[in-house]
């Protein structure tokens, strides 16, 4: 409540008070709004120029041809036709979906399982939390270059480890069979820290009585996991699932730095191809058409994610 609502006793006539108050209150509201917009104006300018305007422009660009010499030219659906005629376009989508699928199998299950185990351990809790989160703090380029070196088939760390226990070495990022899987491993290693810690926080909120009650009813560990732990963390699991789909569909740094899309286009992702269209071929219209398709594909996931986090948060 603002202070202006408190009536002020004045010796003047009732009429005079009323007459003086109404315009005063209006003026007050105008001043308050002006102040508020003063505080907002920098944000409005930044959002307008670097968020709202690019959104609108991105949609328009999808239907234009841009060459920086003459004005943009309307070309209808031609940019989309270019994309669908490009064999790499389908390959890029297939690779990206494959990456996202593998990342879900590896990167979604592992952090949850790790969090469940960590939640039971009573020692060295700080150490576990710290080391699992360390890779998250490293710049993604550092991680990508480092793992490229680990993947080196000769003196690389991984083949050395495999060979030291008598297993044959792998070709990792140099073979079309394992290249994408190798990228998923890097991405999971570098990102699983945040997921693990978020799950740990969620597990800590489960009331102990639920487990006790389930145990009294004769539920064994697996049943308690299924009927207490998972239902109690369902919301977080769903949010993280959406977040992971949105993030992994936009994978760029790992293929760009580690493989450049190869071998034989096996790691060309949607974003890598988009980057090529825009900054190698200078075809910003087709690149925008690709962004629009990616947005349409991910928009539903994003909307659901926002709705969930806003209503429950």
């Amino acid at each position: 409540m603002s202070i202006t609502a408190i009536p002020v006793r004045t010796p003047s006539t009732p009429d005079g008070v009323r007459a003086g108050r109404a315009p005063g209150r209006l003026r007050r509201r105008i001043t308050d709004n002006l102040t508020a917009y003063g505080f907002l104006c920098a944000a409005l300018v930044c959002f307008a120029l670097f968020s709202w305007y690019p959104i609108v422009r991105g949609v328009l660009l999808s239907f234009q041809q841009v060459n920086f010499v003459t004005d943009p030219e309307w070309v209808g659906w031609q940019n989309f036709a270019t994309l669908f005629a490009d064999p790499l376009f389908l390959i890029a989508w297939r690779n990206t979906l494959y990456f996202t699928g593998l990342a879900l199998v590896v990167g979604f299950a592992i952090p949850f399982a790790v969090a469940i185990v960590l939640n039971e351990l009573r020692h060295a809790k700080g150490y576990f939390r710290m080391v699992v989160y360390l890779p998250v703090m490293l710049p993604p380029v550092v991680v990508a270059i480092l793992w490229k070196w680990f993947y080196d088939p000769g003196p690389g760390l991984f083949n050395t480890m495999l060979e030291s226990v008598g297993l044959p070495g792998l070709a990792w990022i140099s073979s079309t069979n394992t290249s994408m899987l190798s990228l998923v491993l890097v991405a999971t290693w570098s990102a699983m820290g945040s997921a693990t810690l978020i799950y740990l926080a969620a597990l800590a909120t489960i009331p102990g009585e639920l487990y006790e009650a389930a145990e009294l009813d004769g539920a064994n560990v697996l049943q308690r996991l299924r009927h207490v732990t998972i239902p109690q963390t369902r919301f977080v699991l769903l949010v993280m699932l959406l977040m992971q789909i949105i993030a992994t569909m936009q994978v760029f740094t790992e293929p760009y730095v580690m493989t450049g899309g190869g071998p034989e286009d096996s790691t060309v992702t949607v974003l890598l191809l988009l980057y090529r269209y825009a900054f190698t071929y200078n075809d910003f219209g087709t690149a925008s058409a690709m962004s629009l398709l990616l947005f349409v594909f991910l928009g539903g996931f994003s909307a659901l994610y926002l709705k969930l986090t806003k209503s429950e948060g």
């Binding site: 409540m1 202070i3 308050d32 709004n33 102040t35 508020a36 917009y37 907002l40 920098a42 944000a43 409005l44 959002f47 120029l49 670097f50 968020s51 305007y53 690019p54 959104i55 422009r57 991105g58 660009l61 841009v66 469940i116 039971e120 351990l121 080391v131 360390l134 703090m137 490293l138 710049p139 993604p140 380029v141 550092v142 990508a144 480092l146 000769g154 003196p155 030291s164 810690l197 969620a202 800590a204 909120t205 487990y211 560990v221 308690r224 732990t229 109690q232 919301f235 977080v236 936009q250 760029f252 730095v257 988009l274 980057y275 990616l294 947005f295 991910l298 994003s302 926002l306 986090t309």
Partner: protein
């Protein structure tokens, strides 16, 4: 200690204890192999000479412990310059973002102007877009900023300005400000404090925890970012560490490269060790409380 999946009785029995310590040792070993060994391998690798690194099987400890590679990498890649560029980019992004979103969050939370909820809705709607869907149009906007008519390519402002339009951090701040009792602000107003004074003297001191979280998010994001600086900082003289390391990678001896990777990571790792509590608290601040 609240009870978890396993019952305390099971853990207290002899079999339970053996099982617990067995699992503990296995997890400890796996975590160390998965997360510590790679980083130690990087640190050790940076101390080995290039021919030593090419040996198969590799040596575990370097032939001799030396920080020579670090010094050599520092000079070879001119890391001092890239560090300076990265600090300028990250500090600028952080300060500008705070200067823009703190007053805006305060206005939307406490001053509540006409259309305020509308504006907030439009800002939050930008979170629905995958960041990469905006790369091309934002890049074209940066090459020719409307109204101002300037080209910000190769200017750190190309990173600062879009970073300031951060709806996520703005929303975190607004939600925190919402919890500050209005009576407190009214009291300040009775004492004659204007909106600016109220923000600076009352709201900000109460908001230190969330300001810490938002600051860490902003700085870490700017330090780690790769694709956007790759696009807008094309002149090698002003590139950030991530962009420069990636550019040097093909023709730099691997031991120097590793030293460069270690050096580029140190500020983030140190920041993590210092601000661990705030960073971990910030993880659940994004509305992920189950």
């Amino acid at each position: 200690m609240t009870r978890t999946l396993l019952s305390p009785w099971t853990l207290r029995s002899t079999r339970g204890r053996i099982g617990y310590w067995l699992v503990f040792v296995v997890v400890l070993a796996l975590f160390t192999i998965a997360f510590v060994v790679p980083l130690v391998w990087m640190l050790l690798g940076a101390m080995k000479s290039a021919p030593e690194l090419a040996r198969t099987p590799p040596t575990i400890l370097p032939d001799r412990f030396t920080l020579g590679s670090y010094v050599e990498a520092w000079n070879f890649m001119d890391l001092a310059g890239y560090f300076r560029n990265t600090v300028i980019v990250a500090a600028g992004a952080w300060l500008l973002q705070l200067a823009v979103i703190v007053p805006a969050a305060y206005a939307l939370s406490k001053l509540r102007p006409v259309l305020g909820n509308w504006i907030l809705g439009l800002m939050l709607a930008t979170l629905m877009l995958p960041a990469s869907a905006l790369l091309v149009p934002t890049y074209l906007t940066i090459t020719d900023v409307p109204v101002a008519g300037v080209n910000l390519i190769n200017n750190p402002a190309a990173i600062w300005l879009p970073a300031a339009a951060n709806a996520f951090n703005l929303y975190l701040l607004k939600r925190f400000f919402d919890q500050i009792p209005t009576e407190l602000l009214d009291a300040a107003r009775i004492d004659g404090a204007g909106s600016v004074t109220t923000l600076v003297r009352i709201v900000l001191p109460l908001s230190r925890p969330i300001l810490a979280v938002v600051s860490i998010f902003a700085i870490v994001a700017a330090w780690k970012d790769f694709i956007w600086p790759l696009l807008v900082l094309q002149d090698p003289g002003i590139q950030t560490l991530s962009v420069a390391l990636q550019r040097f990678e093909p023709d730099t001896p691997i031991n120097l490269m590793l030293a460069g990777l270690v050096l580029a990571s140190i500020p983030m790792v140190v920041a993590f060790l210092i601000f661990q509590r705030q960073i971990l608290a910030g993880l659940s601040a994004g509305g992920l409380k189950g």
